[in-house]
């Protein structure tokens, strides 16, 4: 056991007690947001359903029949919203987590990255909870869960790594430049349109399709829709691409953060 503890610390820079802290932080992130609401964490279930419902009413007239045969628009749309929420939430919350906990970080010696990881993992947990209403929608629209659906866990984990990586980079930039938040918000909006979240990729011109498939989120989304309920086609290239992007981003994020941290903390 003892060697185990030491090696864990050596690799991650986290102690065994830090793992407990990570768990407490994820718990807080999930419960505190809804502390004063009546149905509490139930909003995590309701939110994607309500958003999907609104968008479904708006877009189902436009895009019905544009999907490939055997695919259904409602679960297609909801999967997109779920994954996009995961991405936005994980990214923005881990980016904000460092500044938000500046008061603690300047007084107690605790690995700062733990806060970013907790935010990304909380978004992951929200995503997992959101799979329940998604499964319901899949059955309501007359489909079945694909046998491959456990793969969703792996895709989600890669997404958590991706958001934590970007979050770490942004956290440093946000502390330095308040304005960067607004720029990132615009970029995220552009990204929503560059990802086939609410439209079938088939409606785009072939040139646009090429651009959209370069977006790693498209691969994430295709892989997710395919694994969950066969509402998209995904190849091994998509899986390879998303895994590579996620791991590389995570590594770069950690490296960047480690380098900049001693300068950044002086601004907190």
């Amino acid at each position: 056991m003892r060697t185990n503890k030491i090696s864990l610390y050596a690799i991650t820079g986290f102690s065994k007690n830090n793992i407990q802290l990570l768990r407490l932080l994820i718990q807080q992130e999930l419960t505190l947001r809804y502390k004063r609401s009546v149905i509490g964490i139930g909003w995590t279930l309701l939110n994607p359903m309500l958003t999907s419902f609104v968008l479904w009413i708006v877009f189902s007239f436009l895009f019905v029949g544009k999907l490939e045969t055997g695919q259904q628009f409602a679960p297609y749309l909801m999967a997109g919203i779920l994954l996009n929420t995961f991405f936005n939430q994980g990214l923005l919350q881990s980016a904000n987590s460092i500044a938000a906990n500046g008061g603690v970080l300047t007084k107690v010696s605790v690995p700062p990255r733990i806060f970013a990881f907790a935010a990304a993992l909380a978004a992951f947990t929200n995503f997992l909870i959101g799979l329940i209403p998604l499964a319901a929608v899949v059955y309501i629209s007359g489909q079945k869960l694909a046998i491959t659906f456990p793969i969703v866990l792996i895709i989600g984990l890669f997404m958590a790594f991706l958001t934590a990586g970007i979050g770490l980079i942004l956290s440093v930039i946000f502390i330095r430049f308040e304005d960067a938040k607004n720029i990132v918000n615009v970029l995220l909006l552009i990204l929503i349109y560059l990802t086939p979240i609410f439209y079938p990729i088939g409606i785009l011109s072939s040139r646009m399709q090429e651009i959209v498939s370069l977006n790693p989120l498209t691969s994430f989304l295709d892989a997710f829709r395919w694994s969950f309920s066969n509402n998209a086609t995904a190849t091994w290239r998509d899986f390879l691409y998303l895994a590579l992007v996620s791991i590389t981003t995570f590594a770069i994020g950690n490296l960047f953060f480690k380098r900049r941290w001693s300068k950044t903390i002086a601004m907190l």
Binding site: S15, K16, N17, N18, Q20, L21, L24, Q28, L32, K35, G103, V104, L105, T106, K107, V108, S109, V110, F177, E178, D179, A180, S262, K263, I265, A266
Partner: protein, 243 residues
């Protein structure tokens, strides 16, 4: 045995010559060639050592660099230059209750704060009763912290922070909080900690406390060590310097 060894440590905050809070102003000034980076030196070239079991007080005027030094000792920041070697577990009491969340209950806060201080919460759980009894908040354990009075929060934080005796305890003016009774109680606790052989480093403006508790005083002025010695001689020199 030396537990803290600082060799020529310095810390400089890197600041732009003007405060550019937005990219726009930074870009505008950059185009006009008015951007330059300056180092604000908080402490420079400090060399000192602290032995196990010593109670060391750091004194000096506001802005002398005391808090920066304490943050380096707490391993929150690293010195920009020089080397520091710290042996053992450090418990920082730089701000009581840093990390307390007013939306969480007293119990949740005890566990969370302990976890922040790198303690095993499974070992903290059986100690909760002792912690709240000492702090005198036993009736409020499962209420949210925002229902606590300021004094209760301070007592709870002090109780959690001192529940485990660390190798090195760092204190920044924390004894100035709370009501009279609590001040006496916390002083007693602090004396117990000092007597137990724990190394204590404190920053204080209260020279009476320094004279009473410390057996070594480091006087810092403008980021540099002005004098190190016994409380009597350093305090005398500090007072006669007109500070």
């Amino acid at each position: 045995m030396r537990v803290i060894e600082a060799k020529n440590i310095s810390f400089a905050y890197r600041v732009l010559n003007k405060n550019h809070s937005s990219l726009k102003t930074l870009f505008r000034d950059f185009l006009k060639g008015r951007v330059s980076i300056e180092d604000y030196v908080a402490i420079s070239d400090l060399t000192f050592e602290i032995n196990k079991g010593e109670t060391v007080a750091i004194i000096g005027k506001n802005g002398a660099g005391k808090s920066t030094l304490l943050k380096i000792l707490a391993r929150v920041i690293k010195p920009t230059n020089g080397e520091i070697k710290i042996t053992g577990q450090v418990a920082p009491m730089i701000e009581l209750g840093a990390g307390f969340n007013s939306e969480l209950t007293g119990r949740e806060n005890i566990l969370f704060y302990s976890s922040l201080l790198d303690r095993d919460i499974n070992k903290v759980k059986p100690r909760i009763n002792e912690i709240i009894n000492w702090a005198g908040v036993a009736d409020h354990l499962d209420y949210q912290l925002r229902t606590y009075s300021t004094g209760m929060v301070a007592r709870l934080a002090f109780s959690v922070a001192t529940d485990v005796i660390p190798d090195i305890l760092l204190i920044d003016e924390v004894l100035s909080v709370g009501d009279g009774e609590f001040a006496v109680k916390s002083r007693k606790r602090l004396n117990e900690i000092i007597d137990s052989g724990c190394t204590v480093v404190m920053v204080s403006h209260d020279l009476a406390t320094v004279a009473e508790l410390a057996n070594k005083v480091i006087w810092i002025e403008k980021g540099q060590i002005k004098m190190v010695g016994t409380p009597t001689e350093v305090i005398a020199a500090y007072q006669s310097s007109g500070s």
